[in-house]
Structures are given as C-alpha cells and as structure tokens.
C-alpha cells in the first residue's frame, strides 16, 4: 500500500484498518473507509482534479461539502456511469472509478485550455454580440459552441438500479443534524412528538463535529453519538443520514432524498440506489447551518486555494492536512482556530491576513511571533500554474483590497485557506416563502420573516454562539411541542464549554488593481469574474436577475452556494446601491441536484400508467389477440389466425359478423346506475334528447354536450325499473362522464333526487352481433321469448343464463342484429366460453376494436373522438333533429350562438375515395381548388370496407350535406398522397336498417 503523504496520524473518523482502492483518471489510489473521494485524493496529494467550465482553467478541491464548485467527476461505468458527481460528497468504495469531466484529451493537457488565452474575446454574454454574420453560418457556429459546452456525459446503458419513494407524516421535521438540530430533535422526541431528523452528511454533528467543544462535559463527538443512539431507540423518532432536504413545497410538504449505500456497489444486481421521502410535517425546523464564503482576488481559483472550513473538516473528519506550507486569509475570528488546528497537525503556517483592523480578542497577538500576521490586509493575487506557489497580500480600503503591485508581498505556500465570513444556509427557508434581508454586521443575508409552522435555528438563523443557539432552539421547540398538544417539556440541560463565538466580519469584496488583468473569480462553477460584473453593469444588466442571466453567475450546478453573496457584494459596490435594495435572485429547488431516477421512482415501464384489463383478458391473451392501448385499457384490436396480417384478420372478422355472428368484449364501456324519482329529469338535462318518457324495458341512444354546446360523449341509456336507469358511456370517457354528472348533481342541481353508482366493472359486457346472434341467444335464453316481436331493437330483458341473472340489451353498433349481454364479471369468462362453443356451428368469430370500427363506419355511425374533436356540435354530425327545442339541457344555449347558427359548419358526410386515404387527410373542394388550396374539411374515419369491397371514408366538410354528389380531392400528409373522391351520404351499408330489425 502506497503511503498517503497528506494523511495526519491520529485524527479523523476514517477506519485506517480498512483500506479501499479506487481509480481517478486511470490511476489507482488507496483511501480508507469513511473517506470521500475528495478527502482520499487530497490525502494522496492529488491537487488538480478538474477544469473549469468556460476557460478550462486547472481546478482543485475547494470546499468539502455540497459547496465545492470544482471537483465534478464522472463516476462508475456502464449503466451506473454518473455524470457530474461531486468528489466531495461521494464516499469511496472498493473499485470506484472516477474521471474528471470536461477535459480533452486529458486533465493535465486540455486542448480547450486555449480558451483561457483568448478569454478577452469571451466576456459575459459575448455570444449575443457575434456569430450573426453571415446569417447562414450560425448553425456552424452553434455546432462548435455546443461541442464545447456541457460537463459530464450521459451514460450509454440503462440504469440497473431502482429508486424508491415513501410518504411519511411527522409532527416535526428537522433538517440539519448539527448541534442545533440534534438538540431540537432530542427534546421534541423525548416530549413524545413524532420527529424525523435528516442530515445530508454521513455523520451527524454538523460543523461542530470536529472541535474541542464539550457538551455536558462530554467531548462533542461522544455527545453526538450518544444522542444519536438515544434518538434511534425512541419509537416515533426517525434519524436519516445521507439524506438531503431538497424541496420545500406547499403546506410543509418537504422532499428528502436519501442516498442508500450498499456494501458492494459493483453488484450486477438491481439495487435500491436512492429513496425519496415525501414528508408532510406539522412543523419544520431548518437547522441547516451556514456556508463559508470564499474571498475574491486574482487567480483565486488556483488549485491549492481552499475554504478554511473545508480544511478544518479535512483535518478532523478525515485526518488529512492538504498542505505543508499554509497561508491563511480571512475577515473573521474563525481563522485563528484554523491556525491552531493546522499547527496541531504539523503544518507550517507561512502567513495569516485578517482584513479587520483589529481582531475580537487580540488573537492575532498570540501568533505574531510565530509567523507574519497582516492585519487590515487581504490576498491580492495567487501565483502558480497548475497549483498555487505563492500569494501576495495588500491593504484593505472600505470593502476592497488594494493592489499596489510593487509592494505586494509575495509569500510562498502550497495551500491558501480562506474565510470570507459565513452565509446562513437559507435556500430551503426561502423556498418555503421566507424572506431574507441583508445584515451588514455579518455581511450576509438573514431570514427576516418566516411562514407559519416553519422555524429556523442555529447558524442558519445567523446565530454563531453555541450556548445561545441552544437556548434559543429550546425556546422554539417548546413552542412547537405546545402547539402539538404536549404540555410536558422534558427537563434537559445542555451545557457547552470551549466554543468560540463568531462576531462581526469585515468583508473584502474584491481586489482593486490598476494594472493587472488577472482574473478574479466570483463564481468558480461558471467562470464568472469581476470584469464580467463590470461589463454587466456597464451595459445596464444591473437588476440582480438580469445580472445573473447575463453573467450566468449562480447558474452552475451549485447554484452559487458560495458565490452569490460575493457577487452581490461586488455588484453593490459597482453600482453603489446597498445589497439590501438589490436583493437576492430567487431561490429555487432543489437544494442540491437530484436524479431524474429518484423523482420518477418506480412509475416506469408497465407501472408508468395503470394497465386496465377486463375480466375476459385471460381469454384474449390465450387466443393471441393483438392488443391496442385505448387510454389506460388494453383492448383486443384483432385476433389474427395463423400468421394473418391485420388486414386479413379484420376482413375475416367483419365478414363473419355480416354473414353469421361475431363476439366482442365490450366490457370497457362505462356503466352508471341512476336511482331515484328524478333520474329521468336528470337525463333530460344531461342528454340533448328527451329521456323521461322512456318506458321500462326500453333503451335509447343519446348525445351529451358540454355547456359550450360541443359533443363530448354518446351512449345508450336504458330504463331498468321505474326509478332505476342504466346509462352507458364510451370507454375513454367512462370515469370523466361519471364524475361530470356527479358534479352537476352535487353543485348545480342538488334538489334532484338521484343517486349515482358506477357499475362499470361489476358487469362485463359480451356483444354477439350478426344475423345468427338470435340463434345463439336462443340457447342461452331458456324459456324467455327473444323473438323480434317480443324483444325488438332498443329494448332489454333480464335473462337467467344457467341460473345467473344477466341483462341483455338489444342494441347495435355494427348495423347487424345484435345483443349486449351484461353478466356479473365473475361469470364473464365462463359465459364467453359457453357462447363460443354454442356458436361453433355458426362459425362464431371473435372480433376486435378494429373490426367494430370498420363495421360501424360502413353504417356511418360516429365514434366520439374520431368524428368529434371538441369543436363539433350535434347538428354537425347529423343529430340536430335529436335536440329538444324549448327545454334547457347542458349545452343548449350555446348552440344558438351567432357563429353556431350563422355559419357554414362542418358536416358529417360519407366519402368514396378512389383509393384508401389515411384518417386525418384534408379535403379540398374541386371547384375552389385551383391555386387557392384551402381545406374545407378532413377525413375522420377511413377503411377498406370488407362488406362493400371498396374504400370508404367519413369526413367533416363545411356545408357537406349540401355537397352530396360533388367531387372533391383529398390530400394526405405527403405530396404523393392525393386522391379524388365523391361526397355521399354517410351510411354506406344497409341504409334502411333492414338487417337491424329482423
């Protein structure tokens, strides 16, 4: 095992007896269990980890958490290849393979680094100003722009892993498991509240995880682990680690994303990779801490420049000290603690700059003898090529560092730690509707107003004094517990020792320099520099949102977590408006990026949308039916026999129906029972035609319009008993119509005495159609008289079929003698098989939806959705006569509006095209064609008629009924598709209905 040159003995929580091998950019390294990819790389002295987005400048690890903008890598192979993972939040595992993104051919020698040399040509928004000449070249320019864009690559294979979701309900959700969050969880769980605590990191304890602080006389690490085990033992308390709150939605609906770590990440098996927790909480506490802000100066993006908090974390959590000769720069008290930490692990501190004139407690004096301490100064420029070699400092003058060039002290170092102050982590509270305001004391934003039932504690609330934080947190929790109905507040004290509080910071927004053109980076993710801000201001993109969009500052994968406040500070200086008036850009979810997979969960493939099937599905499958998706339903489309083509099958099925008898599964039809004395009246209002005069035992076809007068559904309704009716709807509209009627009944006509019950699934519907249908029925009917005279068209009867009560309706959608047998679903399969065997001697033929539609088209019957499209009136499809004239029904009034009666409406007609033309083809009138190719309508249905042996079609044509007999042209979707046709009446087959009434 190779030595890890930057690993510090005796520190950190890694398991040094469990080495782990991984590769980065093709080279193998060793880290320890508990390392992140970032800590392991730094332990091995790997400083250069990536290239920047635009200029391809060398970049190293900058932060150690979600705030790191540089170390984006592609992880894993095949289906588990994942773009844009953060090295800082990826725990290493045996065999991990990681590569830098956005480099070619290699990280060290990246061709596009040339962009850096020409960077003066690429200021913010340069693309808006160029690439316009010649106009025709833009696609070529764009090709090259696109080639250069993007970071990681999309995997080539399907993801083998799965993603789970879970809804949970809690009294209290606490986000953030630092001291503040832990105290809140501990107290509220002990008070008996249902509590869930989530932290994005692998360990609880937050930023105080590392320090020398004690709580109740225990070292903080010990205290944290004790609290953790105590929480885990409480029944209604849930502690989730590696779980990030990403979205705060309405009414305290918070989405957490849990990363699930499995022992062997290489398995070829499907594994659960992440779980989305959809939490509904009565109250939410955000204890999300604060993020350290970097400082802006020249070449501040060089590898080896890091956040101070990151270095602290590396030392204490991972036992890594990423430099030997360390410079420190900051504007607040935290740098002195950092200096102690660094000293303790043997680093040589080469200089420290504190931009304040004076430190809070004269901490600077303690170090003065050991290394140079520059008060009132800030870094001016970092030097080095692929890594920092030295840094210069200069004096600070009202928020900016001033470069004097010749006097700038250059000090050699291999690590520069920065602390530019702390920004309360407010993303989620802002998502929740909290408003923020600028606090000049800490030069950052604090939350000003918080919506109901949401709370903020700890560093996130701008509180940087541990003991004070705890007492304030306790007060808030007390309030919540009380609100949740618990009156006893557990009597617990948390006494802390050894923590230093953080007072005011004095910001240094950027370096003013007369001479140098070195870049000062504000947003490292998107390579936004101070000069980009200058340009943006100069051109008037000063509103913070314009500024963001023009410079792209804060628009990278980290969404400006550590960049936004600096950008604002600089903008504020440049336009001389205080930060409060400028405000922030809008905070949006997610807090950190979340995979598509986690959001989609298991609603994929067959579970993407319910597959609905009828009780006869098994039979259809066994009979090798080809299925068609109709909404969510799987319906038999046709039943091919011995490798038949679809056309042959449909031809055979249709002919069988016309010649003898066919059988069809119509169970998907919507069926609604209406019960009550006013059911007839309700139906009168729902349908355009009258129903209350229908006799018990009879059926009637009706059309339904929306209140805008457009046809929305049709179907047959029967009167079962005096006060009981059965209404049928189309398959696609079944539940829509049911709920729609329910709405009219509940909201508009509650005085009507009618009850609705959906019976769609209780009854299966088996249709037998064809001249032999009665012969088949005879054998099922027992002694019931089913002759034409006693069981005529549009009537229904109860028939006990082998002892089971069936409702048989004599209605027809094929134009043939036809019965729809409704039987309780449990018997459907058995009845179907019985009918098939009874029908054998008539060569009974199962037919699918395609044949049904063909047969009905031969008869000129409409199908809602084919002949109608939401803009068709009853009269348009030939049912004007059906409408009641003087009584109100839904849609009635709309049908007498100016343009509905006054205009040349589309009307349903038949078409006889020379050859088959696809549905949707457009109709041109012969007379007006010439040069003006105006469409006068379109083909709504089109078939090769098996019964007639010719192509037939239905169409909606302007003023069509008066054009019967004329010739027209039909044009399809390509130039070659064009046929002549003749307009005819829409019924092609048996126009007198002789076959129906036999």
């Amino acid at each position: 095992m190779k030595k890890q040159p930057f690993r510090v003995e005796g520190l950190g929580d890694i398991e040094r007896n469990r080495p782990i091998m991984f590769t980065f950019n093709g080279k193998t390294y060793t880290g320890f269990k508990g390392d992140t990819l970032a800590s392991a790389l730094l332990a091995n002295g790997v400083i250069l980890v990536g290239r920047s987005f635009k200029y391809h400048r060398p970049r190293g690890i900058f932060g150690v958490g979600v705030d790191d903008p540089n170390a984006l890598v592609q992880i894993g192979v095949h289906g588990r290849s994942t773009p844009n993972e953060r090295a800082t939040t990826t725990e290493i595992f045996e065999g991990l393979i990681a590569k830098s993104v956005n480099v070619w051919p290699s990280l060290r020698y990246d061709i596009l680094a040339i962009n850096n040399s020409f960077s003066s040509m690429f200021p913010a928004g340069f693309y808006y100003k160029t690439f316009m000449w010649p106009a025709s070249f833009w696609p070529i320019y764009e090709y090259f722009i696109r080639k250069a864009a993007g970071l990681g690559t999309v995997p080539k294979f399907e993801d083998p892993d799965t993603y789970e979701k879970k809804y949970v309900h809690y009294d209290l959700l606490i986000v953030g498991g630092g001291i503040a969050g832990l105290v809140a969880a501990h107290v509220s769980a002990k008070a008996g509240n249902r509590v869930i605590l989530a932290d994005e990191r692998a360990n609880l304890g937050g930023s105080k995880f590392n320090s020398e602080v004690t709580i109740n006389n225990k070292p903080v690490k010990k205290w944290v682990s004790d609290i953790e085990s105590e929480l885990e033992s409480i029944g209604d308390c849930m502690v989730l680690k590696r779980t990030t709150a990403v979205i705060h939605s309405d009414h305290n609906f918070v989405v957490l994303r849990e990363k699930i770590i499995k022992p062997n990440n290489h398995s070829s098996h499907t594994m659960i990779s992440q779980r989305l927790w959809k939490v509904r909480a009565k109250s939410v506490i955000y204890a999300t801490g604060a993020l350290e802000r970097p400082m802006v100066f020249q070449n501040n993006d060089l590898p080896g420049v890091m956040l101070g908090s990151a270095v602290t974390d590396l030392i204490h959590r991972y036992g890594v000290c990423p430099g030997k000769n360390v410079a420190i720069a900051g504007n607040n008290a935290s740098i002195y603690t950092l200096a102690e930490d660094l000293k303790a692990c043997g680093a040589n501190i080469v200089a420290l700059s504190d931009s304040r004139k004076k430190s809070d407690n004269n901490e600077n004096l303690a170090f003065d003898s050991e290394f140079p301490v520059f008060m009132g100064q800030a870094p001016i420029c970092a030097f080095g090529k692929k890594k920092i070699r030295s840094v210069s400092f200069g004096p600070v003058n009202i928020d900016t560092a001033i470069s004097q060039n010749k006097d700038d002290k250059k000090i050699d170092c291999d690590l520069l730690c920065l602390s530019g102050g702390y920004d309360p982590n407010l993303n989620l509270i802002a998502q929740a509707g909290g408003s923020v305001s600028f606090d000049t004391e800490v030069s950052s934003f604090n939350c000003q107003s918080i919506p109901k039932d949401i709370f903020l504690i700890g560093a996130a609330a701008g509180n940087f004094d541990l003991q004070d934080t705890i007492s304030k947190s306790l007060n808030i929790v007390k309030k919540i517990i009380k609100q949740n109905g618990t009156s006893v507040f557990p009597d617990i004290v948390y006494q802390t020792k050894g923590s230093k509080s953080l007072n005011a910071v004095s910001p240094v927004w950027y370096v003013q320099s007369k001479k140098s053109n070195n870049k000062q980076f504000v947003d490292l993710h998107n390579d936004v520099t101070v000069s980009d801000i200058d340009l943006s201001v100069r051109e008037g993109y000063k509103s913070i949102e314009h500024f963001k969009r023009y410079t792209t500052s804060g628009m990278g994968p980290d969404q400006g977590k550590i960049a936004n406040v600096n950008a604002l500070g600089i903008l504020s200086k440049k336009i001389d408006i205080n930060p409060q008036s400028i405000g922030t850009t809008r905070f949006r979810p997610p807090y950190t990026p979340i995979t598509f997979g986690a959001l989609a969960g298991r609603d994929l493939g067959d579970l993407a949308e319910p597959i609905r099937i009828t009780a006869l599905n098994v039979w259809h499958q066994e009979s090798k039916a080809v299925f068609e998706n109709v909404g969510q339903w799987k319906r038999p489309w046709y039943y091919p026999k011995n490798e038949e083509t679809m056309e042959a099958a449909v031809n055979r099925e249709c002919k069988a129906v016309r010649k003898s008898v066919g059988i069809f599964d119509a169970s998907t039809l919507g069926k609604i029972e209406l019960v009550g004395p006013d059911a007839g009246e309700l139906l009168n209002r729902i349908y355009i035609n009258r129903f209350d005069d229908l006799k018990v035992g009879s059926c009637r076809y009706g059309i339904i319009c929306g209140d805008d007068g457009m046809v929305i559904d049709d179907g047959v309704t029967s009167r079962l008993e005096d006060k009981r009716w059965l209404m049928t709807t189309t398959t696609g509209n079944a539940s829509k119509v049911f709920h729609w009627i329910d709405e009219w009944l509940q909201c508009e006509w509650p005085e009507l005495d009618v009850f609705l019950t959906s019976v769609s699934s209780h009854w299966s519907t088996i249709t037998i159609a064809g001249s032999n249908a009665r012969n088949v029925l005879l054998e099922l009917a027992g002694d019931v008289d089913v002759s034409n005279s006693s069981f005529p068209h549009h009537t229904w009867k109860i028939i006990k079929i082998f002892g089971v009560v069936a409702r048989v309706f004599r209605v027809s959608f094929t134009g043939e003698l036809s019965y729809e047998i409704n039987i309780p679903s449990r018997y459907a399969h058995s009845l179907w098989e019985s009918i098939i065997s009874i029908g054998e001697r008539y060569d009974i033929t199962p037919f699918g939806t395609e044949s049904l539609h063909t047969l009905r088209a031969e008869k000129g019957y409409i199908v809602v959705g084919h002949e109608t499209d939401g803009s068709v009136t009853p009269d348009d499809i030939g049912f004007g006569w059906m409408m009641r004239k003087r009584k109100d029904f839904i849609g009635h009034r709309s049908l007498s509006r100016e343009s509905i009666i006054g205009e040349k409406r589309p009307q349903l007609v038949g078409l006889l095209p020379e050859t088959y033309i696809p549905e949707g083809a457009q109709v041109l009138s012969d007379e007006i064609s010439g040069s003006d190719k105006q469409s006068i309508g379109h083909v709504t249905s089109s078939y090769n008629s098996p019964s007639l042996g010719i192509p037939i079609a239905l169409g909606l044509i302007q003023g069509g009924r008066s054009l019967i007999g004329s010739n027209i042209r039909i044009i399809g979707p390509s130039n070659s598709m064009s046929v002549n046709a003749k307009i005819v009446s829409h019924c092609f087959y048996d126009p007198n209905g002789d076959r129906l009434n036999v």
Binding site: Y167, H251, F253, H739, P750, D888, H892
Partner: protein, 102 residues
Amino acid sequence: MLNIPCPWCGLRSEVEFSSGGESEVIRPLDPLKKSDHEWSDYLFNRTNKKGWHVERWYHIHGCRKWFHIERNTITHEIRSSWPITEKHPEGNLSVSYSDREQ
C-alpha cells in the same frame, strides 16, 4: 403539494382531489333567456382572483364530495372549507348554491 381539508375526511393530499375552478361561476337559471354576451360571461369569463379565492374541489379519490375552500392564490394558504351547498362558515361569501339568482 397542497394539503386540502375535505370537510368530511379532513386533511388529505392534493393527489386525491381534482380542482373545479372558482366557486363564483353560477349557471343562469334560464339560459335560453340570456343574451350571447351574458351566456358567454357565465361560460368563459372568470374573476381569476389574485389573493383570496373561493373555489371548489372534488375529493375524487376519497369521499367523492364537492366542497368549497378559500385559498390564497399567492401563498396557497387555505383558511376554510365547507360543503358545496352550504354558506361560507362566516357567512360573508356569496358563492353558495343557495345564493343563486332566483
């Protein structure tokens, strides 16, 4: 994701409901007597309130009842809910069924 108070079932997740738009839409009792303008006002025009909005929802995957809620369209806060044919609990909203034009 709204948490909607059904007057019967209590607080339930938005996914169980469907929205029926503003409650103030009242169908004229005698449509055939209305002018094209009056009729289209009922059919199409909406107040589309920014702020407190009285609207009706349907507990479609629950008790199958329509009801009114008063919801702020800016904050999504919901401050009351009541059955479809009843008056607003504080009686200050003229949008219940029984208030219709007679």
